[in-house]
Amino acid sequence: MAGDALWYEAAHVVGITNALNVAADGLGPLMAPVKAESAPAEVAAVFADIRAFYAEGGTGEVPLPFGLAAHDPGYLADLWAACKRAFADNRLGRRLKTALAFAVSLTTRSGFGTAFHLAEMRRLGVGEGGVREVVGVTQMFSSYTKIADTLQLDPDMGDIAPVDRTPAPGTGPR
């Protein structure tokens, strides 16, 4: 997993996953999402794109965070554009990105995110063995991190990966 581009993509997945989860877990019980049947045209168009992204083998439902965001159509459009970009196949594949989102959701105890990304992993072809692998890694590194924090260990493994000297996107060949 060399090269900064992979890690930028992973960070975007982590960020947007957390953004979706906090709204779904925090507001889901308190606020009604915009329903597809009653959505204005500009929201309906975004909902259609969302359903298409999650369509194959999925529930056909618009995931809760987007229904909640749809009370402001402009916000929904930008939130969805960022989410779609973060989860689309790029240098990292969607399958791994979804596994990362599942691990993040499990670690942050997000009921919405854990269930949603678990279903997405399965929809994208990850078997039960693969799910257990991600759970195992999540558990073990939830242990290591707390041991390290309790003992206030200083980072000492930063040098094992080479520094990526390539320029930022758009400034030269990658």
């Binding site: 791994l96 990362l100 990850v126 890694v137 558990q139 590194f141 939830s142 041991i147 924090d149 980072p155």
Partner: protein, 84 residues
């Protein structure tokens, strides 16, 4: 600053020093001293041994590659706000 004094590799008994050599192989990197976490886990072999085996079992290739799992580990560490 750590809340404990991290012992140098030479202060550990021979079985732990052998484990430190395996640690180098695992990371494929020549450390001047074993990583702090390796030395922490070597403190009590009855804890560190099975914990380390569980980690290696979890990190071994399966449906996901070792590299993919390292990325999962990194994001878990990130959301746990663990600088180590």
């Amino acid at each position: 600053m750590p809340t404990v004094r991290l012992r140098d590799a030479g202060e550990y008994p021979e079985p732990a020093r052998r484990a430190f050599e395996l640690s180098k192989q695992w990371f494929n990197y020549e450390f001047a001293e074993p990583p702090a976490m390796s030395r922490v886990m070597a403190w009590d072999p009855e804890f560190g041994g099975p914990h380390g085996r569980a980690m290696k079992r979890a990190m071994g290739p399966g449906e996901f590659t070792r590299g993919e799992k390292e990325m999962v580990a990194a994001v878990v560490s990130g959301v746990n706000a663990c600088a180590y």
